[in-house]
Structure formats: C-alpha cells, structure tokens
C-alpha cells in the first residue's frame, strides 16, 4: 500500500525545491502528489473499515484490489454531500431521525472541502499547460492538506464518517429515486 504520509512529505519537498525560482514542474507535481496523498488516505480508511487488512495473503490481495474500485468522481460526490455542516436534504431523508438533526463535525467538513479544492487544482496541474503556479499558493494548499490529515483522524468519532466512506463507493445513486 502507498503511504499517504510519505506522499505528502514528498509534496512538501517538491514545493520547496529551488528556493529562488521554483520550477513550474515541481509545483505541479507537488499539487498532484498532495492530491494523491489525500485520495489514498481516504481510500485506505474505507478499505480498512470495510474489509480490514487481515494477516493472510488473500486479505492483502483483496484489499489491494478493492482500493481500485474507488473513483475520483465518486469521492468528489461524497465530499459535496459533507462539505457543509448540514447534510443535504436528499441524504438527510434516508437517515434515521436522530442523525437528521445532527450536524457533521467541522473536521469532516474541512476534509471534504479540501479534497474538492485539491481535486480541481490537481486537474489543472496535470492537464492545463496554460495555468501558472506560485509557491505561495501551493504552500497554502499543502498547509491545508496537513490540517486535513489531522482533521481526518479527529473525525474518526463523527457518526457521519462511515456514511461518508460508504458514499465514496456508491456516490449519489443510493439517495436518488428514493
């Protein structure tokens, strides 16, 4: 398994290369690597929750295979549902009464928001040659990702986090046509 923390450390290193005049390539790779660090952090949590990382080689094989079931688009859909303090009404309507009234934690919201931000910036970093990156902007993004890693741990007790994890696989399809 890839280590999300190692990826994030690499992103920091890349963003700080060439102190006087950062190369666009380094900044672009920093953004992209930070995105994948967060992507893998979320996916690995989901796989660990649903399947676990058991002792047998088969466990590992299954876990490594399931990791590939997650898509960027579905993760973005999940994040859209949880980026605000109140989950959208379509999702609320399929939740039990107590959960309908409860707000999501600020930590979970921040993770959802930074993931969406990162996804957009990463898309530009990887595919849009016209965009120019600046170290100020990239370092700010990385500081937010550092915070998101802490937030993700803190959100472990949020009752909505397992639903968020499920949503990462199913997307909005579970609440449509209900």
């Amino acid at each position: 398994m890839l280590s999300p923390r190692s990826l994030l450390a690499v992103a920091h290193d890349l963003a700080r290369l060439d102190p006087r005049r950062p190369r666009q390539a380094s900044l672009r790779r920093a953004v992209s690597t930070a995105y994948y660090a967060t992507f893998h952090l979320l996916i690995q949590t989901a796989v660990k929750s649903f399947i676990g990382f058991g002792p047998r080689p088969t466990h590992r094989e299954i876990s490594e295979s399931v990791v590939r079931w997650f898509t960027h688009e579905r993760l973005a859909e999940a994040c859209r549902q949880f980026a605000g303090p109140v989950v959208p009404s379509k999702l609320r309507s399929v939740l039990p009464p107590l959960a309908r009234a409860e707000p999501t934690s600020a930590e979970l919201q921040r993770v959802a928001r930074i993931f969406l931000e990162l996804q957009r910036v990463r898309h530009r970093a990887d595919y849009d040659p016209a965009v120019r990156f600046a170290r100020q902007d990239v370092l700010k993004l990385l500081a937010q990702v550092d915070q998101a890693f802490l937030d993700w741990e803190a959100a472990a007790s949020d009752p909505f986090r397992p639903i968020f994890l499920l949503f990462m696989l199913t997307g909005e399809v579970v609440i449509k046509n209900r």
């Binding site: 005049r21 666009q24 688009e73 973005a76 859909e77 859209r80 549902q81 980026a83 605000g84 303090p85 109140v86 959208p88 009404s89 379509k90 600020a106 919201q109 921040r110 928001r113 969406l116 931000e117 996804q119 957009r120 910036v121 898309h123 120019r132 600046a134 170290r135 100020q136 902007d137 370092l139 700010k140 500081a143 937010q144 915070q147």
Partner: protein, 128 residues
C-alpha cells in the same frame, strides 16, 4: 479554522444566471479586503466564473498579496481569515458557486510574467 456554513449543493450543477449577485458579493469582498484585510495584506483581487472539473458552477478568485518583508510566502494563519471572509459572504448571500481561492505574491506575479516573456522570446527565436 472556522466552519463555513451551509453551501447549497443540491441545486443544478451550473446555477442559473447569478451574475448580479456575484458582482455585488465580489464588490463587497474586494472593498473589505482592500480596506482592511483580516489576514495578509491584499493588493488586488480578480475573479472569473468557471465550471469545476466535475461540471459544477464555481468561481475562481485570484488574490494578489503585498510581498512581506522577507519575501517569504505567508503562512496559512494569515490566509485562512481571508478564505473565511469570502466563504462567509458567499453563504450569507446564498450563492451556489464554490469559491476557489488562489494566492500570489506581487513578486511571484512579476516572476511569472518574466518567465512567460522569456518563453515567448525563445519560441520566436526557435521559429527564426
């Protein structure tokens, strides 16, 4: 970091014509940030309506910051209050666009312009 309130993500992917609301909101944000920024000092601000990589309506806000004395980037603590102010205004006014906020130092903009000029000159040279 503060919480940003509820954005309305249930609407259609791209909001109906919201240009008037956006203009007014951005004008209010600009006025506030140029007058007394809650974080790093803002030199100028520009914005553009965009569609994000998932097809949702969004707005890209580019903020140019005054260089600090050491010409180092500002830490997140100096930028987060600006982010929070922008989100607060968007939520307050019920705007259904995600604000993507980018920060540049004045010196970085100059550096980028220089790089672009150098690249353009190289391209012309290669053609000759």
């Amino acid at each position: 970091m503060s919480s940003h309130g509820a954005m309305a993500f249930e609407a259609d992917k791209v909001p109906v014509d919201d240009s008037a609301g956006m203009d007014a909101t951005m004008a209010a944000i600009e006025e506030r940030l140029l007058k007394s920024s809650p974080g790093a000092p803002v030199e100028s601000l520009s914005w553009e309506l965009i569609t994000d990589s998932n097809g949702y309506g969004a707005v890209e806000i580019v903020i140019i910051l005054k260089d600090n004395k050491r010409k180092n980037p500002y830490p997140l603590e100096k930028l987060q209050p600006i982010d929070d102010l922008i989100w607060e205004k968007f939520v307050e006014r019920g705007l259904d666009r995600w604000p993507f906020i980018r920060y540049f130092l004045r010196s970085e903009i100059e550096e980028i312009e220089k790089e672009e000029a150098e690249e353009a000159a190289k391209a012309i040279e290669a053609q000759c």
